[in-house]
Subunit: 244 residues, 2 copies
Amino acid sequence: MNVLIVCAHQDARSFNGALLALAERELAAAGHAVEVSDLYAMNFEPRCTAADFADAGSGSLFKYDELQERAHANGGFAPDVAAEIDKLVRADLLILQFPLYWFAMPAILKGWVDRVFVNGLVYGGGKWYDRGGLKGRRAMLTITTGCYPPMCAPDGINGGMDLLLWPIQNGILRFAGMAVLPPFIAYAVARSGQAAREADLARYAERLRTLERTEPIFFHPRDDFGADWRLKPGIAPRTVGQRR
Amino acid sequence: MNVLIVCAHQDARSFNGALLALAERELAAAGHAVEVSDLYAMNFEPRCTAADFADAGSGSLFKYDELQERAHANGGFAPDVAAEIDKLVRADLLILQFPLYWFAMPAILKGWVDRVFVNGLVYGGGKWYDRGGLKGRRAMLTITTGCYPPMCAPDGINGGMDLLLWPIQNGILRFAGMAVLPPFIAYAVARSGQAAREADLARYAERLRTLERTEPIFFHPRDDFGADWRLKPGIAPRTVGQRR
């Protein structure tokens, strides 16, 4: 398997750095080819601007998604975007690894998605959800948090973790067509203590060793929705996202 | 009222540009003082790095939240961060205006939150949710989408809009202590046509004229949660976020 890990932490000596080093080691030992986009080390650009394109149509109204579609058709992406698209296309498994910032991805990683999950390749023209452009590939989130597990219980003060991650897991990864493996989450790593962090690392190693037999999260297939994009009558909602 | 509008669109001639111009006009006409952070025009930096601080503790492990706390205590923020913090502190109402990118904020705006909603001022040391550092202030999202309303119905293919916005409305704005007004959403603006867009602008003007008598969204107060941060027995869940 080709694995692409996109990581958003500023310091390789952090717990995120330890998770990344562990993943590179375990995946290589299992015979996988690993690529890493270490976003802060790359000083990766998160802003979506005209600089992303060889030709942004000077003077015309700036429509980012249309510019992406055109650049995909004619190979007109800036080198830094093109390089990440190439990595994405090579990957059988995409791991997004990050500390949860405000219950979402840090901006530098959100910018990687905004700029690299391009219209024309990843979505658009009928390509979305189980017909998405990255169909046949898998994805997984590896997350560290500042909060404790009960805060992210279904009745917790932050809301349930499956609900907090819905916009990413459904709205990005599943929207792109990927099968989404359950997230790996290490809670409250700044305060949990050395023993808990070591247990987290062991738990992550086990997840990495068992990737091939891990069941993806269930999402309703496109055919469960009617022409109005809502669950068809008689289809019982099975996700946190689609309720009645 | 002092109003701060933080806007994330690349082109002032866009529909987002029209929404922004309308808001500036309507709010000024109603006697409010308006400040705007036009993030792309400012080329606002979204990345969280050592450059955000006068002193990032060279050589020590990079912990962004701790550096924010220290910089808040000693006034050690970089000028671009300090300027935005000053605007935020002056604001009675914060409007975050953006096109929905991947069911979330564009990276440039997420970076504004990551860098400006700083530990020590906005949260930390017991300051969170209805005890958050921005308590007494109000906030509102102004959003344009590529998708159509039924896609974001509770049983829609994207999941319900209240659920999609939960990480922002609860996890950022409410977490910071703000009262959150219902979002203004203009759907599918690239395809809805001129008449629909004009109706959207009229609807937005009406929202802006009636801000003072608009009821905030309900969130469970901190006291509805027990020492385990979960809803106390007997408290019925009333939000999309907290379920049983």
